[in-house]
Amino acid sequence: MGCKKYEKWISDSLDEELNARRSRKLASHLAQCAACRSYQERLRLLQQEALRLESPDFPPRYWEEFSRNLARRLQAVQPGASDLRLGWRSRGWAWAGAAVLIAVALSLVLILRKGPEAEENDVFSFEKCLDRVYGEIGDDPQLADLFNVALVRSLREGSGADDPVTRPLFVEDPFFLEGLSEEEMEFLNREIEKEIKS
């Protein structure tokens, strides 16, 4: 179980993304853990093999032809005449849909919480706590942003993590929780439990 953290660090180190403090910790762990050393070796081999994977290579003639074909098609296109529907008008539908979904999900949560079993099983649930936050945020992107910033700041302070965290999008990113380190998750759990007790 303790090695999971080091396996993650081994992965980061292969991408040269592990900071100096963690690199030192990893090195001292590897010196005494044969399983992790073997894991690191296997990942290294995997990495080497991946870099050898076939990469298409074409003669310059191919690329000239590619550009010629593209130029022919570009003649008929005006910049800005986009078929990308990224404007606010079309986004509006997405936001409206999201708002309806959130409303339905909230109603379901409220209905389920009223059932007799809900009280019996009312143990600490991380997801339930987040539901409340989601409910508050609704479809307000500014509020979501503020929450992200506050959450990341408190995570950094609490865990003492020195890794730069690039503004995770809490609401939009389904992997947000997955992306937190063990220390950050522990800190988050502790704080929520404290909040519930008080």
Binding site: E7, K8, S11, D12, L14, D15, E17, S38, Y39, E41, R42, L43, L45, L46, Q47, E49, A50, L51, R52, L53, E54, S55, P56, W63, F66, S67, N69, L70, A71, R73, L74, Q75, V77, Q78, P79, G80, A81, S82, D83, L84, L86, D163, P164, V165, T166, R167, P168, L169, E172, D173, F175, F176, E178, G179, L180, S181
Partner: protein, 194 residues
């Protein structure tokens, strides 16, 4: 265009080319295409594994980018922006062509090979087979993991660059890579030794 003009175009900074392209300058856009076409092609190929589809998708990527270029606000580099279009196009293509369903069946096949290597255990053939199996195993990764693996391991991007292309946090990229590697090493364990 004269040779002298061509030489000058290659010296022009990317930001200037983008501005010209935003004003409809096709020559400026052609220079941008020239700078990125091979990298874009390779990235798309790693999703499709097929030259004909890759060629179409790469052309579509550059066409779509040109149509949308006026809305490019330079919050990220042009490179990141066009990569995002290419990755999204590739992912949509895979979803539409239903390849993910085929991959699901393939998952089982991969599970089996993890127990019995197909051929002789001679080092050369094992290494060759590892390459083949690795290609197949990367193809069968869940799309989110596969995208991070392609951009960071195969394209050589940093976690930060990949995060900007995939619009997620660096931490997410890092976790996806950890999980992708975990899956790959478990599927390919007979070829990787103990």
């Amino acid at each position: 265009m004269s040779n002298r003009m061509k030489i000058l175009m290659t010296d022009v900074k990317e930001e200037v080319l983008v501005e010209k392209a935003q004003d409809g300058d096709l020559e400026a856009y052609a220079e941008l295409v020239k700078r990125y076409r091979e990298r874009i092609y390779r990235t798309i190929y790693r999703y499709t594994r097929n030259h004909s589809d890759t060629d179409d998708l790469a052309q579509e990527t550059f066409l779509q980018a040109f149509r949308a270029i006026k809305r490019f606000r330079k919050k990220s580099g042009f490179y990141t922006w066009i990569f995002r279009i290419a990755v999204n196009r590739s992912l949509n293509f895979l979803k539409k062509s239903g390849r993910e369903k085929e991959k699901a069946g393939y998952e089982e096949k991969m599970g089996n090979i993890a127990v019995t290597p197909l051929h002789s255990p001679e080092p050369v053939s094992m290494a060759k087979e590892l390459g083949e199996r690795l290609k197949e195993a990367v193809d069968s990764l869940p799309l989110a993991y596969k995208s991070s693996f392609i951009l960071v391991v195969l394209q050589g991007m940093t976690h930060g660059q990949a995060a900007r292309v995939l619009r997620c946090s660096e931490n997410t990229v890092s976790w996806r890579l950890y999980k992708a590697r975990k899956i790959l090493q478990s599927k390919l364990s007979p070829y990787l030794g103990r």
